[in-house]
């Protein structure tokens, strides 16, 4: 009989705990990246892991993201489960060719003979007053590439369970960690309930309209729903957690139950994940919809400098305005 324990953890601590537990359970799990050893990573996600597991299990590499991801491919080919850290979203771009041409395609290329059980951790998105190149929402690039799984937790509990699931997955995972949620805290239950990759969750029940969000925009959706409740409107909130695979079943059941939906993403709207969600929901739920599905997204601009970033971030007011627009007069 395992006893259930609760611990109040920030998302950063939950991620650290997931790495530690995975390394304890499986000696083939190895961590590497830039400044993740002695420093514990610029966000301290790997804090203490080199001390606990030794330099061969958690180590710093030369500064070269393509080399980091490329070396992870080779190690995954040869019996390891590498978990690599990209220091910031925009600094993963040098690794783009490795991710697109090899990480995503190796299993398919080899008819399933060479799978790549590896995780690429990316601190991502904005809202922290970061300067240029530190706040990109890069999920669409990865989500557009068959062969990758793309997840983005919104809570410490999900951060823990999704990272454990990502490390155990036989396929590569791009693990997007919303930077602005690193310090958000929650009671995390151990042993944890398994949040599988590919499953969305209803974060808040509601009957009038459905807000669909993931990662950094989930707290915005929840706050908007709380405000709307005071105004007498019942909003349901779906947290996707996993962008790829996409949980059509949960999302569509939710939208059908309310007949109205707003998709919220921090990333630019054009050709983004939000556009995909609107298309999927519209194709599948058209006859249940009382209004066109609306989007609240970042503008189609390069991520702004810190003093202007609040214009870019989807906020509660914009979400509520979009909700107001959902043809209520009918």
């Amino acid at each position: 009989m395992t006893t259930v324990a609760h611990e109040k953890l920030s998302m950063a601590q939950a991620l650290n705990r997931a790495l530690r537990d995975a390394m304890t359970d499986d000696p083939s799990v190895v961590l590497f990246g830039e400044d993740i050893g002695a420093l514990g990573g610029v966000f301290r996600i790997t804090d203490g892991l080199t001390a606990a597991f030794g330099e061969s299990r958690c180590f710093d590499t030369p500064l070269a993201e393509s080399g980091i991801v490329g070396m992870a491919v080779g190690m995954a080919m040869n019996g390891m489960r590498p978990v690599v850290e990209m220091q910031f979203d925009a600094f993963a771009y040098p690794a783009f060719e490795q991710i697109i041409s090899h990480v995503a395609k190796m299993r398919n290329r080899t008819r399933g003979r060479v799978g790549l059980p590896m995780v690429i951790r990316v601190p991502y998105a904005g809202g922290i007053g970061g300067v240029e190149h530190h706040c990109d929402s890069s999920e669409a690039y990865y989500a557009h590439t068959p062969g990758l799984q793309v997840v983005a937790p919104a809570t410490p509990s999900d951060a823990y369970t999704l990272l454990r699931a990502a490390i155990e997955s036989p396929d590569p995972v791009v693990f997007l960690e919303p930077k602005k949620l690193y310090w958000s805290k929650e009671e995390v239950e151990f042993p944890s309930r398994a949040a599988g990759i590919g499953t969305a969750v209803i974060r808040r029940e509601g009957t009038d309209a459905t807000l669909i969000a993931y990662g950094p925009s989930v707290p915005v959706a929840l706050e908007a729903a709380a405000v709307a409740a005071q105004e007498g409107r019942s909003l349901q909130v779906v947290d996707l957690r996993s962008i790829v695979p996409f949980d059509d079943a949960t999302v569509c059941a939710a939208v059908r139950s309310t007949g109205r939906a707003v998709v919220i993403t921090e990333s630019s709207g054009f050709a983004g994940v939000s556009a995909e969600i609107v298309a999927r929901v519209t194709e599948r739920c058209f006859t249940s919809l009382a209004a066109p599905v609306r989007r609240v997204t970042g503008m189609d601009i390069p991520y702004p400098p810190p003093k202007l970033e609040h214009f870019q971030l989807p906020g509660v007011d914009r979400v509520l305005d979009a909700v107001d627009d959902l043809s209520w007069e009918q």
């Binding site: 080399g67 080779g74 190690m75 390891m80 395609k105 398919n108 080899t110 060479v114 996409f246 059509d248």
Partner: protein, 363 residues
Amino acid sequence: MTPDSRRLLPSATPVSLIDPEGRAVENSPYPAPDDATLLRSLGKLITARRLNDQAYALVRQGRLAVYPSSHGQEACQVAAAQVLDAQDWLFPTYRDTVAAVGKGVDPVEALSLLKGDWHCGYDPYEHRVAPHATPLATQLPHAVGVAHAARLRGEPTVVMAMCGDGGTSEGDFHEALNFAAVFQAPVVFFVQNNEYAISVPLARQTAAPSLAHKGIGYGVPGERVDGNDMAALLAVLGTAVDRARNGEGPQLIEAHTYRMQAHTNADDATRYRDDADVAAWVHRDPITRLRTYLTARGVLTDQAGAAFTAEAEKVATHLRDGLNRDIEPNPEDLFAYVYASPTPQLREQSAVIADELSREGAR
């Protein structure tokens, strides 16, 4: 310069053990491989040439989409595989089909990519041969990862990582050498400098004194070798593999050779080089050279020569038969290997194609 950094520099001229006339080179720093080894190599070279030319012919017959031939570079191809043990890995480029075959891959499976049946036709784990890499130099960091994983587990595996002269200009070449050096990964980086990257000559790739000189910037010993000299290749690559296995870290070997044919059959080499340049390399042919050497030493008998030709014919027939056999492609395969198990969306899309096919059948 410290003695240590001198150790990293290649020899002033490429290492050579047998000259283009087939005579032993005096006072080489490397001992020549024994006659029995070289005789075996000759057999492999003859088969390699036959494979190259058979594959080229099969393009003209429409059985292969394209073939980047290693005609003229066979000594590099044979040596790269011959110096490895079964536990070692080979990372080939699109031009290194013959090296992959040398490591044990079935030539028909090795050419699946170019036949168009599937991207990689062989099981990389069976003979420890990675899939042919098409994006230049991107396979080199993988080689470092395979080597580093083996080293962490205490396995004596060595990895042979191949690329061309053009590939050395890519960022991943730099990153892989740097990572291998920092982690002392047992990798032999083997560059076949055939003087061209499609149409672009070596002078446009680098201003370095040689490609092997690039090693010193990473702390990796570099060596240059005559890439049409089978004996020198076995000696230099064999030494590099031994050193890597003994924990001395990565090595960078540059073989000076020449691409005797166009980049692929789809290329027109007359637009960027003269026939006279190509002709000058004919008398440096690796097979003629080794044959002359072994004949002069009385090692190559008519009988052995005939056996080599027969073996090469057998392999060519196997290749022809294999490539002439049409495999009915299964569209379900398109969805089966994207992930370990297909996503719900891929299952839906697979069903769409199955439905299209069943309606076609019903028509």
